[in-house]
Amino acid sequence: MSLLGILQAQAPPKQDATSTIQTLCLRLSTSTLLEDRRAAIMGLRSFAREYKETVASGGLRGLISTLSKDSEDVDTIKVVLETLLLLFVKDESNSESSEDIALWLTDEFTQKQENITVLIELVQDSDFYIRLYALQLLVAILNNRPSRTQECILTAPLGISRLVSALDDKRDAIRNEGILLIINLSNGHTDIQKLIAFENAFERMFSIIELEGGVDGGIIVQDCLQLLNNLLSFNVSNQSYFRETGCVPRLAKLFQFAQEPVPSYAKGQSDTNIEYAMRVCRLFVVPGGLGAAANQNAFFGAGILHLMLVIAFSGFSDFPVRAEALRTVADLIHENSLLQENFAQMKVQYLDPTILPEVQAQQNNPDDLCYVIEGLLDLALLNSSIHAFDARLAACRCLESYFAGNQPVRLHFLNHAINLHAQGDESANVLTCLINLDQDSRGDPYRVWLASVIFLHLIYSDEEAKNLATSFKEGDADAGEEVVTVIQSISANLVAALEHNYDPRIIIGYLMLLCTWLFEDSPAVDDFLNEASSVQSLVSTVKQSSNSNVLIQGLCAFFLGILYEFSHKDSPLPRATLHPILASRMGRDHYVNKVTKLRENPQVRDFEVFRETNRRKRKIGLPEVYFDHTFIDFLKDNYSRVLRAIDKDPGLETHNTINGIPHALNGISVELVDSLKAQLEDKDEELQKLQTTCLTLEQKITQEQHESQRTKEAAAAEVQKANAATEALRLQYDVELRATAQKARSEINGLEGQIQRTRWEASEAARKAKEYGDSEVAGLRRRVAESEAATEKEKAERAGEVQRAKAEGEKAIEEVTSRLHSAEKEALFAHESLRKSEEHARESDQRLKTSEEALKAANERIASLEEGSRRQKSEATILQEALTAAQSRLEECTKQQAASEAQIKDLETTLRALEASLIKEQSTHVRILHEAQESAAALEVRVKELDARLSDAEHARKEADEAAKQSAAELDDLFIVLGDLEEKREGDKVFFPFAVCEIYSG
């Protein structure tokens, strides 16, 4: 019967589970027989679901140690892993389950490197379940303590490569679990990402994706793409590795699927996969990213730009996929002039924006092509479907990227739009959409809004484009038509929209465009101010109190601020007239309040956040998208300047340079002319001087630039070297540290062993000595007792004998004396028998003699007995001495024990010293690391200094340029004044020839 069976048989049916579990845990940790351990583990597994806490607290260590102890026994290992997994499962309904248990389990693994190492080794096992369970455990552990687990796996020998090899498993379950594991493992750890990439992960991912059937391959393909995403996100090194190992064409291959209907059950997943794959593309071309240009070219070379456009303009693609494709296109061409030009030449499938996508798919005519720009404009401006919004926005971004950093493209586009509009062309046109605010565009407010945004990107910060746009006029004056500029048309539309309460998106679109256009452009401002009623309309909108839209009021106020800031005294509505309209009629505080409210509105303040969330939560109705990101940047950059504009005196003009020169003055004196002439010469000279200074400065700058470049490079090299050195040092110290720690640990272990041994030996010796001493003492005691008893007995005996002898003697004496008496009596009484008596007397004498002899002998015997007793006594003394000796020996033993204990103490001190040295070693290591980092930082500071010097120099040059420009302007002015004067003098000469002669001769 198995152990469990026995236990169950013994247990009463309601036996306390806790004690059963405790018994099982005890068996697990103490049993020497594998069968017993296995039975205990099986028992624990059966409790693990319900009694997580009890099983974990008592059994976890034992279970984990089995993983290495019984690693040969597949069945046992399998059950152990199963039990551990059960302990990880969170179970809300179970009071014994808590997140802490899972966390504790995790820490038990991640705090002990060897436990993670064992798990990684199990992933190598050929058994299906062992492999799978080990992977699942690692995933659970990674989820609980990501960074700590990453470090452990990184430290484990061949950790990464062993885990990545699970991807090659032919069994899907294991392979898929492996993918999940690597996704978790690679999250946010650049070094691990690199190591995974070097394990051929890209190749492996693409093989799996292709095996699964590309983007139609289900969720596993999504996981693979997620993993690619993790490995490539903000990891420039992996990106170039990807590019250099020929993975771009394989990525491109994912997009080469047939443009045909996909069954609806598969569509959701395949669209998700396509979007994931596009997201992978976009990681390479994040605007402004390092290596973006190289990646753009590589992707273009692999045909990805073309494939994106095919998907974006396919009747079979849904709008979300089209939108993502267009966003990818936008990133692929952003600020790359070569690609921007190529882009304009590309053709796409023509889709009629006015018919439903479902119908479109059927009517598709593959030969019906148009230029991509036309397709984008059709989509952005004419497709009014609510589902199309993201795609329209993305189309708008494509155009923005097409313009970005490329003035020729912008001017070409603008010219083209102007020409087509002038010709009355029917195709989608930004300009037409801005100017014609008709029924259709009121029904689709984003038409004007998107047209405004596209136009904004065309003219933003581009003086030439602004001039081109400002100069275009409509209407044939000869035919009696009113001639109007674009600004005038737009302002008229804006006023109409404000008065009739059109959708706020229309108003905001126009205002965004006007604000950016008129900023720093006085001629454009003048153009707007030609129509004074527009200003009135803006002012009354700001003043409205009921039902007012904060965004619109704020924007109108902001725009009025721009108008005032860039107006001048000769504007159609001069500054001096404009100021009271704003400061009094509208009210200065009102203005400040509205502009501040705009700035504080979440749509403006948290625009960046909104942009991310907007895409996800889409309710019914129009999206809550009001602003363009470039406009928001513009608003935030210039907010405080425009806010303060109203406090500026009307006499102080900001900009007069474009509108130019003040008019000629009348009644000029000749002295003035002369002084002007002299001034002119001075200026000339000054100009000359400034130009040479400028030249030398320029030279100096170039030199400086060269030098700084060199220093920068050197510094960079140094930094790199320092970094490498730091890294090397770190590694070296790590190794040393580890080695030292190892050594110290083993030494400590040794010492501990030694201590243990010595302690044991000492106590053993002490014990033995004590035992020995004890027994000896006991023996001696016994002997002493014996001899004492003997002495006592003998003494008693002796005394009896003496007594007896004495009594005998006395009796004899008595007898003799009585006999003597009777003899004397006889002698007295009987004369006759004197002879007899004398004979008797002789006899008696004889007897007396013998008696005396007997007495003597008795006395002698007493003496000899006394001697014996003395001897016994001395023998006892000797025994006493032996006893003392034994006791002193015992004392010595005790001393020896004390000495051993002192030795133990010494060893412990050594141990502590070793630990201290370990700690010191660690701190030195940290210090060195710190120093290296400091030196790196110092180098960076130097680089920054050089940069600052460079910018100083450039600043100086700019100033010089400015001065030069100014003197040139002044020179021009003087020339004109001089010309006027000369002309005037020519006229004067006729009337006052004498005066002139006088002046000349004088």
């Binding site: 589970a17 806490e53 607290s57 009071s95 014994e96 808590s98 802490d100 504790w104 820490d107 705090q111």
Partner: protein
């Protein structure tokens, strides 16, 4: 299978390394003492059921004791166990003043991570060491506890067992008082408090049975 307790409460032991947190846990849960210092790696846990009063029908609280490591290097790990703790033993060593000074930092860390209603007990351990070794006077510790809003203070010896039961029982009772006065939302799983639903319903059955017998 009904469990012999009515509530589970999560309690954490915190304090400097070597002040005796593990020793207190071992004394309470296993009734023994280990004179060597086995540094805790990360965290350990044990449990013990404590009746809230002396009557035989007293409700029972199972204290789930999380014994954390005091060493600085485990701070990041141990902190994640503070969350959801219902009670805490803040331990210092009366023979090492530094462990008492650090109590302030421990308390701060605990209050930052744990629930606002956590029941904290200040525990001065190793009181068997005698007055010549003492570096923290009782009065000072008590005053500090009061000053920092800690309701209970006790001195213990894991070695002799003195005060150990008392410390944990105090903690269990305060938790029980809090349960009864409705401080915790027992349905909120994030709390370190759980009710034994099986037991509660069972004991109600028993009550009705007893009452039935009386009538």
């Amino acid at each position: 299978m009904p469990q012999p307790w009515d509530y589970i409460a999560k309690v954490v032991n915190i304090g400097d390394s070597g002040c005796g947190k593990s020793s207190l846990t071992i004394r309470l849960c296993e009734g023994r003492f280990n004179p060597t210092h086995d540094v805790t790696i990360g965290v350990e846990f044990g449990s013990r059921i404590i009746p809230v009063d002396t009557s035989p029908t007293a409700q029972k609280i199972k204290l789930q004791i999380w014994d954390t490591a005091g060493q600085e290097s485990f701070r990041a790990i141990t902190k994640s166990y503070f969350r959801g703790a219902t009670g805490a033993l803040l331990v210092y060593d009366i023979s090492r003043r530094a462990t008492f000074t650090h109590a302030t930092e421990w308390l701060e860390e605990l209050r930052g991570a744990a629930d606002a209603n956590i029941s904290i007990i200040l525990v001065g351990n190793k009181c068997d060491l005698g007055n010549d070794k003492r570096e923290v006077p009782i009065e000072e510790a008590r005053a500090w506890a009061e000053g920092n809003g800690i309701k209970a203070f006790v001195e213990t010896s894991a070695k002799t067992g003195e005060g150990v039961e008392e410390a944990f029982v105090d903690c269990a009772r305060e938790i029980y008082r809090n349960i009864k006065s409705g401080v915790y939302d027992l349905n909120d799983k994030s709390h370190g408090i759980k009710t034994n639903t099986a037991k509660t319903s069972l004991s109600m059955d028993e009550q009705t049975k007893v009452r039935g017998g009386c009538c």
